[in-house]
């Protein structure tokens, strides 16, 4: 159920786009839906991030993963336990760009029936890095559909990405990396019993959606060899708010575009918001300078305490008998 429903869902969505366009509704799937999806994506994301940002951070609770700043002769680990804003920026950069925390990943094993061992396990880190970085490069490559003239950095990335010079048109390295990485992430979700046990339908849905987008994109470029000029005309029209549906675009393209639209709309209401969320995570984005700089809780309120006066009133006789100084005799 958890796997089948999202798989069928993604397949159905793809067909919906494809058949809809084939049935003459190109303007719906080529213009209306992408615009709506983009609006949902941007609006939803802004709503999400502003929503988070408006929630107070009552306490400063960074997870410290290295030596603190204390005495001058003890070397602080400034990136894993930052005490300054600069250190925090460094820590966040490592986290966002290189998935620092995943890089620590270990795998527990029982050896000889009575010894626990923890080996370094980089497979998830590798899979995640490969997927996210190749996705970023694929996205940058797609800028050539939305720009005229195409900026030089896009052309540069495209040429570098096509260094293998295999196929016509050239097969990009990131296409393969993206596909393999996604396939691995799907594989581990199904194959590792614990991960499979905790996975929800939405976890598979996100993977199938990305796989569907990647596969249909590959198909478009390498098998269908779709009319790229027409696609670019459509894309440019969208960016210039002068949309039009050119002739000669394969319905397959609308399937691809519809999945992208679904991804964009789904993004802000799903776990995919981890992308902006990581920047706001209080265990990572705060400096461990707790005892040096006071952190203020905006909703702090007075609480009922047992005052010293009450305490002494209750225990005065015993304190006096034990020779402990008291405030009032």
């Amino acid at each position: 159920m958890h796997i089948l429903v999202p798989l069928l869902g993604v397949g159905g969505l793809f067909l919906l786009g494809l058949l809809g366009a084939a049935a003459g509704m190109e303007w719906v799937f080529g213009i209306l839906v992408p615009y709506a999806a983009l609006a949902l994506f941007l609006g939803g994301l802004i709503y999400r991030v502003i929503g988070w940002a408006n929630i107070p951070v009552p306490f400063r609770i960074p997870t410290t993963c290295g030596q603190q700043k204390s005495l001058p002769w003890i070397k602080q680990q400034k990136l894993d336990n930052p005490s300054s804003t600069l250190g925090v920026v460094g820590r966040m950069a490592l986290e966002v760009l290189f998935f620092r925390s995943l890089l620590r990943n270990t795998k527990a094993a029982l050896v000889d029936g009575n010894k626990l061992a923890y080996g370094t396990d980089l497979s998830l880190w590798l899979g995640a890095m490969a997927m996210h970085w190749s996705l970023l490069i694929v996205l940058i490559r797609h800028l050539r559909f939305f720009t005229n003239p195409v900026p030089s950095f896009v052309t540069f990335i495209e040429q570098t990405d096509g260094f293998m010079e295999v196929g016509l048109p050239v097969i990009f390295a990131t296409t393969i990396v993206f596909g393999v990485a996604l396939a691995y992430l799907l594989y581990r979700r199904v194959a590792i019993p614990q991960v499979r046990y905790l996975s929800l339908a939405s976890d598979y849905f996100a993977l199938f959606l990305l796989l569907g987008i990647g596969t249909s994109g590959f198909w478009l470029r390498h098998l269908d060899k779709t009319n790229v000029a027409a696609v670019k005309e459509l894309a440019l029209g969208l960016t210039r708010f002068a949309p039009g549906v050119p002739d000669g675009i394969s319905p397959l393209f609308y399937g691809h575009l519809f999945l992208v639209s679904v991804l964009l709309s789904y993004f802000p209401v799903s776990k995919l918001v981890h992308m902006p969320g990581v920047f706001l995570s209080p265990t990572r984005n705060l400096a461990n300078n707790n005892r040096a700089v006071r952190h203020v809780n905006p909703w702090d309120y007075p609480v009922k305490v047992h005052s010293y006066e009450e305490y002494e009133d209750e225990l005065r006789d015993k304190m006096k008998a034990a020779g402990i100084p008291v405030e009032r005799q």
């Binding site: 429903v5 999400r48 929630i55 107070p56 009552p58 306490f59 997870t63 410290t64 993963c65 290295g66 030596q67 603190q68 204390s70 005495l71 003890i74 894993d80 986290e95 998935f99 925390s101 995943l102 620590r104 990943n105 527990a108 029936g113 010894k115 626990l116 923890y118 998830l124 019993p193 614990q194 991960v195 046990y197 905790l198 929800l200 339908a201 939405s202 209401v269 799903s270 776990k271 918001v273 981890h274 969320g277 990581v278 706001l280 995570s281 209080p282 265990t283 005892r291 040096a292 909703w299 609480v303 305490v305 047992h306 010293y308 225990l315 304190m319 008998a321 034990a322 402990i324 100084p325």
Partner: protein
């Protein structure tokens, strides 16, 4: 016949049959197995009444009816809504988890029990499933398919079981790519349970004691004076030194605060005796407080509000006594509260001065707002400046390893200070494997208010990763003592080591310091602070032989 609250009840080979494969039923359809030895008894009504907490009543975990208040669902959902608006952590941690599973085998309870709901991600899903159903659009529409579920009494029981099967050690949050901190989830989860009057007595009785009498153990002021005097007697017997016992002394320079576990429990008392010796030798003008006689704070394991209520005493007492600054002893969760919460909750401490060592003149700039310094920072500075006369060979019969306590490790990052001290007072110091120390340290299995015998099975299971690493250095290096700067460790790791690495004793760091210190006017040191003969010192060996 031993009982489920005794370690002997459990066979090592049984506990070592680790099966990390999940059951065939989905977790939402797998009921909780409330077996004796795996849960803690409920809070007694008298303790709830002291603290004016809701719904005080007699009930048992194994009862069908937990006597929840009539509108309990609304209470929980409103409680969640309120906390989602107050804690960015809670909201972000509910929203961003991708269920990658990196945290799964990082939890000592999962490693030791194989129960999938002890995977930090599933522990959070216990709450997140309710959040989805009642607070997100997708959950409202798609329900179970989106990972949502109804809030039922069984959910409450499951929360109780698993939020009191988490020691808030934060090891998983080191590995989480989004820094999701299960301690935060568990703290909120326990707060929500608290709204219904669901507490465990092992936590709420100490809280009630601490609230009324000043410390978790309920030691009254005269009792504390007696305890310290008794220790002074033992100190004199071991060293020939007569120490002063300043109590509630107005105008002292330093208020000393330590966890109350150091007052009664073996081996914590030796650590406490060592504090007294250290301050005596240095001629430090300090005072104990009977009102603020616990730095430990089981409020941290109850609710943010309770934490604040208990912690308020420390600054209040510092102000009343007119001290300049505060020094804190060897404790784990106390230091999480001091370091990450105290100044925010009960500060600013603008009536105090920035801590400055009266011995070395060092100003502790890292504590310039809180005005509270860790004893290991203080001691490391003393040693660095050559202010302690040390003879580490007195500890030569000890082969020591160091257990990083969870909170000082992952909420402060105090790694080098204790190690520097240890290396200067012991000649034989050995580290446990690197994936089990520093920020990756494993919990004792009894933190966050779980250090009772009622849940012995879970303590032994949760203590397995730590105990196993101790066993490793015991086998490899002949380690016979484990040092820890945490009172809960000094209480719980005794059981864990006896079970998983028999022969390894537990000690505080200060105890090793005091045993290595050469005091002005000391008598010949033939016995350590435990009044055990020191091998190779004076007639101690002969004494031992004649005992045979």
């Amino acid at each position: 016949m031993s009982k489920p609250d005794e370690p002997d009840y459990y066979k090592r080979e049984d506990l070592l049959k680790l099966d990390w494969r999940p059951p065939n039923t989905p977790w939402m359809d797998t009921p909780v197995d409330m077996r004796p030895g795996s849960f803690i008894y409920p809070g007694k009504p008298k303790n709830l009444k002291v603290l004016e907490l809701p719904n005080p009543r007699e009930w048992a975990v194994t009862d069908d009816d937990w006597k929840l208040p009539e509108d309990w669902q609304q209470t929980v959902l409103e409680g969640m809504a309120e906390r989602l608006k107050r804690y960015r952590t809670f909201r972000i941690f509910m929203d961003t988890c991708v269920r990658c599973g990196a945290c799964a085998d990082k939890c000592h309870f999962f490693i030791g029990s194989g129960d999938p709901k002890n995977m930090p991600v599933l522990r959070a899903e216990l709450l997140r499933s309710i959040y989805r159903k009642d607070f997100t659009a997708l959950g409202r529409v798609f329900g179970g398919l989106a990972g949502g579920r109804e809030l039922t009494e069984d959910v409450i029981k499951e929360w109780f079981y698993y939020f009191f099967q988490c020691t808030e050690c934060r090891r998983c949050s080191v590995f989480c790519p989004y820094g999701i901190d299960t301690a935060e989830i568990t703290m909120i989860g326990r707060e929500l349970l608290g709204l219904l009057g669901i507490y465990v007595n092992w936590v709420i009785e100490p809280v009630a004691n601490c609230y009324k009498v000043g410390n978790h153990l309920g030691i009254q002021p005269h009792g504390l004076a007696d305890t310290l005097e008794f220790m002074a007697g033992d100190i004199e017997e071991a060293t020939g030194i007569k120490v002063d016992i300043p109590i509630n002394k107005k105008g002292a320079e330093i208020l000393f605060v330590t966890p109350s576990g150091d007052f009664v429990a073996d081996p914590g008392i030796y650590t406490c005796m060592s504090y007294m010796l250290l301050f005596h030798e240095l001629g430090i003008d300090y005072t104990w407080s009977t009102y603020a006689s616990d730095g430990g704070n089981f409020g941290l394991f109850t609710s943010h509000e309770t934490m604040k209520r208990l912690n308020a005493k420390i600054y209040a007492e510092a102000k009343r006594l007119g001290v300049k600054w505060i020094l804190g002893g060897e404790c784990g969760h106390m230091w999480r509260v001091i370091h990450q919460y105290m100044d925010t909750m009960n500060g600013p401490a603008d009536f105090l001065e920035v801590p400055q060592s009266p011995v070395t003149g060092t100003v502790f700039e890292n504590a310039r707002s809180t005005k509270m310094t860790h004893l290991m920072e203080f001691t490391a500075d003393l040693i660095r400046h050559g202010k302690l006369k040390l003879d580490p060979s007195r500890n030569d019969h000890i082969r020591v390893t160091f257990h990083d306590s969870c909170n000082p490790a992952r909420a402060m990052g105090i790694f080098e200070e204790p190690r520097y001290v240890l290396r200067n007072v012991c000649n034989n110091f050995f580290e446990m494997p690197e994936n089990t120390i520093r920020e990756q340290t494993f919990c004792c299995g009894g933190g966050a208010g779980l250090g009772t015998d009622e849940n012995m099975e879970m303590r032994l299971r949760g203590g397995l990763p730590r105990g196993n690493a101790v066993k490793y250095v015991q086998d490899k290096h002949g380690v016979n003592q484990l040092a820890a700067m945490c009172a809960i460790d000094r209480a719980t790791l005794v059981t864990v080591c006896d079970y998983w690495a028999p022969g390894v004793k537990v000690t505080g760091i200060s105890e090793l310091v005091a045993n290595a210190m050469i005091f002005e006017g000391e008598k010949e040191r033939t016995h350590n602070l435990r009044l055990e003969p020191i091998p190779g010192m004076g007639d101690a060996e002969q004494g031992e032989r004649s005992d045979d």
